[in-house]
Amino acid sequence: MGNPYLPMPMRLEKNFIETEDKNIRTFTLSFINKEDEQNFKYLPGQFAEVFAFGKGESPFGIASSPTEPGILKFSVMKVGKVTTALHQTPEGAVIGVRGPLGNSYPMEELKGKNLVVIGGGFAFTTLRSTITYILDPKNRGDYGNLTVIYGARNSGLLLYKEELAQWEKRSDITMVATVDRGDENWKGKVGFVPAMTKETAPSAENTYAVVCGPPIMIKFTLPVLEELGFPPERIIMALENRMKCGIGMCGRCNVGNKFVCKDGPVFTLAQLKTMPNEY
């Protein structure tokens, strides 16, 4: 067993300004060592510690999909020292990565099922991974209907705009992008995610829902899903807590007797109902 605290070096290929407010950037990293690439086996929903050398590391959900070989993507909001350093890292520089960490969305269990992906704001990174994974020609046949409901405060804050546009054109995915407030550039839906979920009304039959977003969105979306007949065992969520080690040792991210980093970050609503609300 290797030392799980050691980062592997990756090259920053692209440092892309993702949102209009310039607070979120998407980093595309390439593996420098071939064996690191071979060892980095992950599934949508997992995260990694990203390390700005000399500044520190922070955990981020992996936004790329394992079906995109050779690279990893992370979308990072600028909130502190490490994220600011990452935002300022020039293309071509070396960045450290530790992972993949945590559990994933239950991609095996989801086979043969329909999936409703509901996301809000910044919390769309591992959802992008999931959608990209399912839409891959090698995987698409394994999954049923794919419905995506994704909202942001305004159109400038939506992540992955080009991909959203491409998904809207496809017939094998129902893509509903919505904004809280429309503007002259926005031709799509206007309304909050819970309302859009109600309007879209995906059938709960043989269907799972993955919900990621700000607490207020989740609070009002869960009753809609319940009304549509989704049982808590088929509502999947991902938690965030402050983390350091990412491997269940440093002790800070626990919710009850579970570590978000190791036992999560993905939990079903049924599981969350048995855990204290310390997240």
Binding site: F53, S58, V94
Partner: protein
């Protein structure tokens, strides 16, 4: 086997030829575990050390690796403390704490290489307590003044000598090398007279904690706490840590430092949200972790009853009283 008290310094000097030896040393009126350079430095007339010896295997601050960004990448130098160590004369509560740290530093996927490297290279020589202290409550947490759990070798103090027992294979091999005189004296009288007066009733506590997370009792239990974290720093089983950079430019070291659930920054999110915003949640976390979460996972309580948190709390918050208060509350009350 036996070793006379007069011969102990000579034995320790022989051990020092092969191992780093950590033993209780009296300085400025306090006993601490220190790396010794001579057997005469050791002071075995003590109740327990001010700080737990956990820092020998899990240092308060330790470099994990150093790095330097270079022309076409980065150079990472892993740091390994591979020295062979002996911890001599540690009390049964502290020896037992290593069995708890063993659980904390591994899980089904990962093993902490820094802790385990030291653990594997260390011989732990436990030392029975003939006169337990006033704040000791080891017998309440499945231990006792002559518990050998966690010890490779165990010493029992007799009038003018120590009875030396090999407990584990590692311990037996270790003492065999020093060819001590044989002997197995009757220690029953000593063991009987070592009374741990202080008791906490833990029967049914776990079952109460299973259901009382939202109980009103937590609203008042923590009120005295000033959040100094002396309890966690001095706890032999507390093992939470922070990871920080000590670096300039692209060159520096990754360092880990003890951290504590009693601090608000421990859980503060980047967004400003804090899942444990006040002392209430933090004191609850400390009790829950030791007496419920750890038991859920490893079927043992993460408290060894050493009493350091009681002795050193600046506001006299006594974990025995906290646990009694929880025990006395009817379960479900105020939920």
């Amino acid at each position: 086997m036996l070793i006379s008290k007069n011969d102990l310094p000579v034995l320790l000097d022989r051990i020092l030829g092969e191992y780093e030896v950590y033993a209780p040393v009296k300085e400025h009126g306090k006993v601490e575990f220190k790396k010794i350079s001579s057997g005469t430095q050791v002071c075995l007339q003590y109740s327990n050390s001010q700080k737990p010896p956990k820092g020998i295997l899990f240092p308060q601050s330790e470099k994990m690796f150093c790095y330097e960004t270079v022309q076409d990448g980065v150079r990472v130098d892993e740091i390994c403390d591979c020295s062979k160590k002996v911890i001599w004369g540690i009390r049964p509560c502290d020896a037992k704490s290593f069995t708890i740290l063993d659980d904390a530093f591994k899980n089904e996927q990962y093993r902490d290489p820094y802790y385990y490297k030291r653990r594997e290279n260390t011989v732990i020589v436990g030392f029975g307590c003939n006169r337990p202290g006033a704040t000791c409550f080891c017998t309440s947490v499945n231990s006792g003044p002559f518990d050998t759990a966690g010890s490779d070798v165990f010493l029992t103090e007799l009038e003018d000598k120590y009875y030396v027992e090999g407990i584990t294979e590692k311990g037996k091999e270790f003492i065999a090398r020093y060819q001590l005189p044989d002997g197995s004296p009757d220690t029953s009288r000593i063991k009987e007279s070592a009374v741990v007066a202080s008791k906490v009733n833990l029967d049914g506590l776990k079952e109460k904690l299973d259901v009382n997370f939202y109980d009103e009792i937590w609203d008042s239990l923590w009120e005295k706490c000033i959040g100094c974290a002396a309890c966690t720093y001095l706890c032999p089983t507390c093992h939470c840590f922070d990871i920080v950079e000590e670096a300039e430019g692209g060159k520096g070291c990754r360092v880990r430092n003890w951290d504590a659930c009693m601090f608000p920054l421990f859980t503060l999110h980047g967004s400003g949200h804090n899942p444990r915003p006040s002392g209430k949640e933090r004191v609850r976390q400390r009790i829950m972790h030791k007496f419920k979460y750890f038991q859920d996972k490893f079927q043992q309580t993460a408290c060894v009853g050493c009493g350091r948190c009681i002795k050193n709390c600046p506001v006299n918050l006594d974990i025995r009283i906290l646990l009694d208060a929880i025990q006395q509350r009817e379960s479900g009350e105020g939920c």
